[in-house]
Symmetry: D2
């Protein structure tokens, strides 16, 4: 594929005095000559402003802890250190149209309830006391548990029965919602929701995804998963089981998608999440695809090569892969597996038919590192 | 609703000599006057030929055991005592268009491979050594495990590593396939399939229904579940979990449908299966619906009232509920739960928009017993 | 494929005295040894009881006309000569699980309203005065128009503004409904429906299938087409247009399916209908498939070869193709096209994954005629 | 709903020296304190940067005509005056994430072929000679015809058999594609496509949306309509027919969506288009919804009130309604209907579950004009 714009079929008009006058007149009428912007707005391939970047948990954690003293929850709403791509500060995105941050909650704290168009998900990094109430259902979540707060569900959370802070990673589609001018926000009229008597009721009811309740809890027509929490232990067991039966993906090892047991699809219409296991010593092959990804290292040590740059990671670190960037992952341990949690906007790419995928064929599937 | 046919809007033509001559002439031309058959073929409500019936396991089991000596597997294909509704012998149906039977396999026996348009499912009643190979995948199944053999998958089975016979219940849609003139059958060209190295690979890969493999095993486009086996232990645990979170259905207690984790739908397009828990002392309310059901008592003792008749059951017994028959279930134990396995043709009723359901409102939801 | 049952993998048990005693005991317990019936209920390929058959319109029409005098509409419900396959008299089927008949209505007559689980469709053969009211919407239909009366919609019809009788072909899935024990029937409490002011409103609203009403008439969630009538003129124009752009199907010429404009699918969940054009002199190649078909010759003269037998037809004739029977069609005119209307149970075959199709490869695609 | 941010549940942290230092340190680490941006990125309701705006055809047309002389097609790619919202110049959007422009083609001109991820649609404003080739299929389109060029279909166009220029409106989802970092672009290797022999073949084949080709042209699995052109005459007839049967929508009059006849859904996964008829004298009620709309006045004269401002329009004028802006339409003629063509991103809003709609209840449904 030619990457020069000086070819038939691309815009290559030379400026003239007459044209400049023409452009001036157009500008006065809220118009522009397409050929002056065409090559920029119709690039040969995706040109994300986002860059690959890694945040070390040990660097960011102290600020999350500090924030617990610096601001009060009732003033801040919540204490979150948002991770922002250098070129995406205007929209507070970590990568593409995805937002992420690390949220801290001190022992005994609880936040007030609200809801918004943006969909949210949580991946617990540390602390035993985390709870969240989603549309009246109380969930208790521990380290490496995954939970969802779908679009416009009431939610509030806190930290109880614990002397330690909780830190979890938030993932939201806020920049996407704003790009589409669809943001709504409400505070709960009573500040706190009434809660059902049973904790983790969605997990009790839907936690065996292949067994569907019938005649109760089955009028579900909402566009998201009725299962709100996906605990770590059975998730890790599922990774290990699948590893007994399959080599997995050459690009991702054993990759599982947290799914809506009602549909087999993604947990929410805009965000999906994955958990993946890299065997000891495994180094995957590179590929690239449309869609943006935010990773959290759930277990182990290793590195990823993203767009030719190596990013070393260990548990708790967060890094991102922009759309169409080559990426591959390596587990540095010779004895233990490594596990990566990630979330992405793939459901959007698929709904809109924007999904594209390509394998890196040269050099045995591995990028040269810059 | 008037049940008399002597009303405006029903056929009520009186015979005359002229009409009899007319009918004779029609008969010679492969025709008939609609009004002579209309009331029969368009009944006020379903008029199944099938009757409610219960087969006691202790009555039928000896015949299954005897069959192991009486005929050789290579002559019989398989040794099955088929359970046949008295009014459905012409199509070998247990109820409606559903076939069922009890199949025996002696220690060390194995059957040859075949495939057919009819979909099959198994519910193991006794014996530890059962295996089946479905499209090259070997499954090991024990008591109360549920397994499927979807339409036109190669399959063969046997009994290994055991000194005892295996008896499982087969459920198939053979009468449905034949009613629609769609039956095909093939014997495997090599009599036995090649098998993958990993036993129960679908269970390892898809057994956490809410975690979907990505980048491997995910090109599944077949109209049935990629998960072929549903073991008893996690199924029973799911029943107990759901019972903590919900009252369940007033008609069925805690009722779970074995589902296709790819879609959240039934395991196969023509047959679905349920597992249901009746709490100690529970007596459900009666309802009725279109669609036929075959039950197998997985655990406990109790009775069901079907169309006004009481059928007492205990573990291993099999009974049927015809379409549109009132039915309710009672657990006779005051301390233990009871569990019913069942399979049905509900996916057919729903695909064709024939589903209808009605609660029994009188007498606090309980039928008078005849 | 071997068609002998004396092979490994089929049932081939020889009778013995011991077995006969065993069978007797099984019979007393509402059971049967599977191997005694297996080969019959699991045939190598479909064994329909239905045979190919053609009813000549000129043979049947006089009986329809006679019936108008012989019985009163209020006694007969409606005057229909049902066409019955010789081997399917028990279920009043024309072929497979499909019912068809020719209904007559004298000038000025009107029938009372009822509804039933069975889905109905009409193809008008002669007469200008036909009307039908479907769920309160009055339709006027003329020769070769197609109309639907979906499952459990109230309907009534008649013949107005005309001195001639109307004869239309009815198609219903009555035998399917009964095979699945799902039949319900109601007479309208007022005997006649109230009618909307606008005739053919569904045609005005949805008659340009690629233009969907928004903000009105668009809460449609029913499982059938909101378009109830498909007039002949635009249908025939569509056939001619498609013939300009495509050769069409080698087996069927230009074949169009009357579709639900909301979904692109069949008009009803159990029945679909086709219209097809055979060019002058065209003789299609043979194929076979699961599913049953009833044809009505809308225009022209020709013949079809079905399971090796030739059936000559002209306008108004009705013939059937049973499941899995080879069939091919020939237009005998060297100058004019021929058009066949047909309806079928293909939506059932597809919903249940029973669809199979095969081309006749020998002899240039043409069957030898017996 | 309170619109103040000084409430519990919103961020309302006061700056302190300690916090400023904290923010500085965060800034060095590609992070930000969420509460400093939360209220901006999670607004109470959508805050589009786009403003309502109308471009008068008589103002813009001269520039389109001038461009035909000013630049050569082979240098410009195509001569388009793009209409750009004052606050959306950075992404060349007319409103939200929608692009639009007026494209001119001189008599006898033809452009070279390319394809891109962005989906395109055309609405012809003037000129008889327009043609386009989409994936090898040549279409001829005249005034007020609508045509689509789905994502990554090869396309080229021109103006033939005419002495007059063609001007059509282009609509694309370019800003959406770029917001999601999914843009790809290719020039055709031969600069021009090979073309099928039949012009408008998709129209001939699929132009009766309720009649679906079977056995030919029916392997369609692409995520967009197989029908590429929707001519004006039958579209206008459909509007008039629907107006006989229904009042239509209180907000939009008779509103029809150009649909994919395969699915009944939108013509493309990211863009949909509507045609709507306002009866003589009709003044619709106001409503608002998420999603952006670009209108082109196909016929008549009137005005729209958008976010409290009145925009008068006549044939050829283009105007936009941003997300969540109140809007209502009025036909100023007392004798003739008016017709508005429009396109939108509603399929995106629905796929992502971002759709919201609200009626304006006060003042009899009419906004006060500012």
């Amino acid at each position: 594929m030619s990457l020069s714009d000086d070819v038939l079929g691309r815009a290559r008009v030379k400026d003239t005095e007459a044209l400049e006058a023409f452009y001036d007149e157009l500008g006065k009428r809220d118009t522009v000559a397409l050929w002056t912007v065409a090559n920029k707005i119709e690039p040969w391939f995706p040109q994300p402003a986002s860059v690959p970047i890694l945040w070390r948990y040990e660097d960011i954690r102290p600020f999350v802890i500090d924030s617990l003293d610096l601001v009060k929850p009732e003033d801040a709403g919540r204490r979150v250190v948002a991770l922002v791509n250098p070129e995406r500060k205007d929209v507070t995105a970590a990568v593409g149209l995805l937002y992420t941050g690390l949220q801290g909650m001190g022992p005994g704290e609880s936040m007030t309830a609200h809801r918004h168009m943006a969909a949210a998900l949580r991946f617990v990094v540390e602390g035993q006391g985390a709870w969240t109430v989603v549309d009246g259902q109380k969930l208790k979540v521990g380290p490496r548990d995954f939970a969802i707060t779908p679009s416009f569900t009431w939610h509030e959370h806190g930290n109880e029965d614990s002397d330690e802070p909780v830190i979890w990673q938030d993932g939201l589609d806020i920049p996407l919602v704003n790009a589409l001018d669809a943001g709504f926000y409400e505070v709960h009229p009573n500040h706190y929701q009434e809660r059902g008597a049973v904790v983790n009721s969605s997990l009790l009811t839907y936690g065996a995804g292949q067994l569907r309740p019938v005649g109760f809890e089955d009028g579900w027509t909402k566009p998201y998963s009725p299962l709100f929490a996906y605990p770590w232990e059975p998730t890790y067991a599922a990774l290990q089981n699948a590893a007994k039966a399959s080599e997995g993906s050459p690009y991702d090892g054993i990759l599982l998608e947290y799914s809506n047991p009602r549909t087999g699809g993604s947990v929410m219409p805009t965000l999906s999440a994955h958990i993946q296991l890299l065997r000891a010593d495994q180094h995957t092959r590179a590929h690239r695809h449309t869609g943006s990804v935010v990773y959290n290292v759930a277990k182990g040590e290793g590195y990823s090569v993203i767009a030719g740059r190596r990013f070393d990671w260990k548990q708790g670190d967060i890094f991102v892969v922009p759309s169409w960037a080559w990426h591959e992952h390596a587990n540095l341990s010779t004895s233990d597996d490594a596990v990566l949690f990630s979330f992405n906007d793939f459901p959007v790419m698929r709904s809109l038919s924007f999904w594209r995928e390509e394998a890196y064929l040269e050099n045995d599937g591995h990028q040269p590192i810059q």
